[in-house]
Symmetry: C2
Subunit: 225 residues, 2 copies
DNA sequence: GCCAAAAGTTGTCAATGGCAACATTGACTC
DNA sequence: GAGTCAATGTTGCCATTGACAACTTTTGGC
């Protein structure tokens, strides 16, 4: 993967290191987790000296913050695309936000981990904070629109935001991390995700369409053995 | 805090190191996070040589696993005590499980972090896995009882377990970590926790009792400014 | 009191983060 | 086209840490 960098036309010195570092870092995190990430390891992988990464990131945390920022950007885009694809119904769009977040967590584990890793969370960074705010805003807007169209009409709007964030983070964590999900008895993780969304959002037209003739959700298809 | 160890009657060599290490480790994690934990640092804090911890824990991860195990034990006890205090109604008891988990996360951040830190999650350990299973079982039993008494009667039971786990983890993470909760507009985190539980479990008699004359939850009390 | 095991110590090594000083490249100017 | 400067990369160094080995001290059972 990252070896491609070695034969590609390099614009200068030794490649456009910054992007290569971020890309390789994402690979390492996806394979071995944030703990396995070391600047020197990246430098070795990319055949540069151990101090080269320092020109682009002040330290390890700096690189992690950049990854997390990119993660929030991508995640918001994915969620908005998901909502767009869900059509005009605000509740269906809201549901799609949650669905997209879970998809993001499972499809891009490196980015998801960068967003959630305690080491990253403890770094104060205004740009990262702003991007997190944009992520919250996406859920806030979606929840507000859903509420206007009849979802929990009497609830406090900000409580619905907290509920949305909490449900999204909980579901993504549970479904993307086998150390948690191993304790669940299920066959198809996508159907389980649908059930979770049903329980969170309520059964929408879209979710009913996917299992039109059952009252008990995806249970029959999901149960193991 | 941990200095108390130095004057207490010591039954041994230089303290009952194992417990002292665990206690000091919990302090360090609560103050500075799991990343700040180092065996050598603990040894310094407890005035023992840098290799002394090795007699009790094979490595850093070994100590973390022990902390996480203890965390799951304590957490299950707290949740069961909470359910017990909630009386006989299964739905109220189920609600109390979630409430207790959030309380646990906020009251014992060190244990909560040890349970959830990716570095710990990636360690294969059968004893830890069993204790996690017991934690799941507590929620599974609670959810099943609630369902038998009318909560989501038509849902798949295992989907309800996933929903419970997801909601508990999400709420605890959101409410115990300011890097997330800073993006929410609220005054009283306890009232927000109640609102989250209302939205997850539905409004129970108990939650109605605490705000008997409002349709909109704790909104009025919670809204900032 | 003896002796074996438990508990703790000193010493060492490799890996890492982080810093400083130096080298090279490329781009811009005249 | 030569000179200059900033960007980029390199080598070297040091402190910290995890991890391991070899040795020493204490404890508790006999």
């Amino acid at each position: 993967m990252y070896l491609l960098q070695t034969w590609r036309p390099m614009a200068y010195h030794h490649g456009n290191l910054r992007e290569a570092l971020l890309a390789r870092a994402a690979e390492v995190i996806a394979e071995s987790g944030v703990e396995a990430l070391s600047l020197r390891g990246l430098a070795r992988d990319l055949d540069v000296s151990h101090a080269a990464p320092r020109r682009h990131f002040a330290d390890r945390r700096g690189l992690l913050v950049e990854l997390a920022k990119e993660a929030f950007r991508l995640c918001v885009v994915m969620m908005e695309q998901g909502a767009e694809a869900a059509g005009p119904d605000p509740v269906a769009r809201y549901r799609a936000l949650g669905r997209s977040y879970v998809e993001f967590a499972r499809r891009d584990p490196a980015f998801f981990r960068a967003m959630h890793h305690p080491e990253v969370r403890s770094i104060p960074n205004s740009e990262l904070s702003e991007l997190q705010g944009a992520w919250f805003a996406a859920l806030r807007d979606g929840a507000a629109a859903a509420q206007r169209s009849g979802w929990h009409p009497e609830a406090d709007p900000e409580a619905l935001v907290a509920f949305s964030v909490s449900a999204a983070m909980g579901a993504a964590q549970l479904l993307s991390d086998e150390s948690w999900s191993q304790h669940l008895d299920f066959n198809d993780i996508d159907l389980l995700a649908d059930d979770l969304l049903d329980l969170t959002v309520g059964r929408t037209q879209k979710s009913l369409m996917s299992t039109p003739n059952e009252l008990t959700g995806n249970a029959a298809k999901r149960r193991a053995s």
